[in-house]
Symmetry: C2
Amino acid sequence: MTQTSTKPPSGTRDFLPDDMRRREHVMRVVREVYESYGFEPLETPAFENIETLLGKYGEEGDKLIFKILRRGEHEASGTADLALRYDLTVPLARVVAQYQAELPRFFKRYQIQPVWRADRPQRGRFREFYQCDIDAIGSTSPVVESDLLAAVSEVLGRLHFESFVIRLNDRRLLTALLDCAGVAEALHGDALVALDKLDKIGADGVERELLQRGVSAEATRQALTIFSGAVTDPADSDAVLTRLEQAVAGHERGGEAVASLRGLLTLTEGTAAREHIRIDPSLARGLSYYTGAIMEIAVTDLPGSLGGGGRYDQLVGMFLGRDVPACGFSLGLERIIVVMQERDMFPAKVSRSPVDVMIACLSDPLRPEAMRLASELRAQKLRVEIYPESGRKLEKSLKYAVARSVPVLVIVGEDEQAKGSVTVRDLDTREQTLVDRDGAASEIARRVRLSVEH
Amino acid sequence: MTQTSTKPPSGTRDFLPDDMRRREHVMRVVREVYESYGFEPLETPAFENIETLLGKYGEEGDKLIFKILRRGEHEASGTADLALRYDLTVPLARVVAQYQAELPRFFKRYQIQPVWRADRPQRGRFREFYQCDIDAIGSTSPVVESDLLAAVSEVLGRLHFESFVIRLNDRRLLTALLDCAGVAEALHGDALVALDKLDKIGADGVERELLQRGVSAEATRQALTIFSGAVTDPADSDAVLTRLEQAVAGHERGGEAVASLRGLLTLTEGTAAREHIRIDPSLARGLSYYTGAIMEIAVTDLPGSLGGGGRYDQLVGMFLGRDVPACGFSLGLERIIVVMQERDMFPAKVSRSPVDVMIACLSDPLRPEAMRLASELRAQKLRVEIYPESGRKLEKSLKYAVARSVPVLVIVGEDEQAKGSVTVRDLDTREQTLVDRDGAASEIARRVRLSVEH
């Protein structure tokens, strides 16, 4: 009859109820924790004017933006005026510029929405995925960084992640280290791209790439000593900081960056983040808009990260014309869910039946009575489904209720009606009893609660 | 510095925290009620393959679909392969066709997601808006229609809507009435478009339009008698049904449609929907895929509707190749919110401060101590914000906390530290007391609760 594919578009997914319950469990925890830190909800449109997005994510990023065709008479031009959101940070910067007067001076917002990237789809990488962002706007205080790290750590702790690592670095320190290694300033960007691959391609691979990109042999050697040395002993952050202090000795802004990291480390001592933090001078982070602290969260055995962030004091300025300090962190919902599913970390309640009571009605004239009983049961805070087809035989509805793992089936039939009662069947124990129609709702509620507790 | 506009794209909106809290309040109620009826959550991607959407919404609908430009080397072609979701019903039909084997036989799903239509933006009409849909798949039983109407009525009741009206009709009855009025079958579509405007352009206007569209003078007169007669006395549904029965006397399928409406009316007697239902033979509903009952909800003083729906037993068949019975209802989130805001229907808690306690830290070295206290307060289920800048003067943080309507300010300073205590200030009464640092968290929690209750 039709040839249309019924699959979702390449790189996207449909979330059936079981998926949705897992996703909502994670999002609920994220929201609760972020709100407990004083972050407030924000949402922005799925698409932005195309010029809002272009030029913010680097050349590679621009290529991955989904563009929307002009409409009406302009459709034929084949050009785009709108584009789908690529992340939640650039829309936030636009919002901050637009609503300056209405927003609090220290604006702390969270935003949980999908973003779209036309990446080549592959295992665990999607074209539509959710980001859970927190950002604090308006302050240069390291209290902001500490607060973000504490909040993210608490989210992961509440989800029962235990052995995650927060890699912490500073963009200014990276610059200083490259200066001290003798890498020419014009090559800093190239060098960071190469050094960022240390854990993927090893020291030999990085050496080759640095030389290829035009870094001198001496600077390459120096850079590798500084960066790979640091990674081999990441556990003791204080020791790493001392060594970094020596590495940037005499470089003024390098010294400031180390002092800033040390201050931040001290600040986190009162929080859940501290035990997870590892100062890691090899952390570079892809996006170009970072200006200070940068951070990323990894769990053992999962390639890539659960999320990352940093300070970006100049992005809002691209929209507003004057800089506004800002710092943020983004958790990737799908990566969290992948790990939680693989490691069986979801609580049992997430997979409980979505229905507490099913009502089977054995004859059509009794249907209004079944609807009435359903209303009464819902008033008892139960989730109630009426088996839609009525008929004398119980078999079908019973089988269906069992297949759906419903704990209790209530039978509304002529016999029951004649006795002023309903039949209540516990689908676990298979016990079946007649219950007075008066007060049936509260009695059934009592039994459901008993059954669920077992 | 930059010329980029910071406004959201035409027809879309940014939702700042106050908007978000109102939206979340409504969505929470919608979700809770729908779940209590056994509906389960579903989400589909923002975009679909373009052929999934085209041809499903009529010619006018097709024009309003946002299309996404092909990517990479195909971008230059100026053509589209994807398109943004136009409603939640067509994606559901695709999902039902794709996951037949995994879904329960009677699949009841709710879906709360944005849809996009390239309509001309105007007051209360947006290009991005949320729909809250419930649909029940797999049964032809009128229990389904009754359940949907009960659920939607309960949502509106819980949101404190009182005087809403559910207009109820049946597509098969419309066909029969047009047959009986003598409207040629080929003109049924045209006639319905005209008759749908009865409350907008009046009987005279509709008469003119019917004649223009080629309906004979006699059929026009007959149709107007049937349709406008019904609207003048919509309150007594039983009386309306009796009159309709006479109007379709001798028309077999017309008689069946009236009987079916009468049955549905009886079925709703045990539900919250019954008192709101008005049988209204002039209700047509725009979308062409309806096959049975159709319904729409209106409130006085609001042009247009809060939502609508109906039975569509043939849409899934467009994807699956064989028909699957289905019936659904869609509530418009934005219209509900517009009415609730105009009528001041939101509960006070929605506009409460997002922060329970603000901590002001009077010196940098005490910041880790402030972070620690914040952790302890969050463990008491309080929402805590640390004023990010520390300094000897309290003035700024105090002013900020008052402006943000925070009930309690806690001061961490050198003097307090020396006494092993913190200062707690009630920003409502302006009372300020010294509280022992040990046990400070639970004492502060107690005071916040007192303050919020006032």
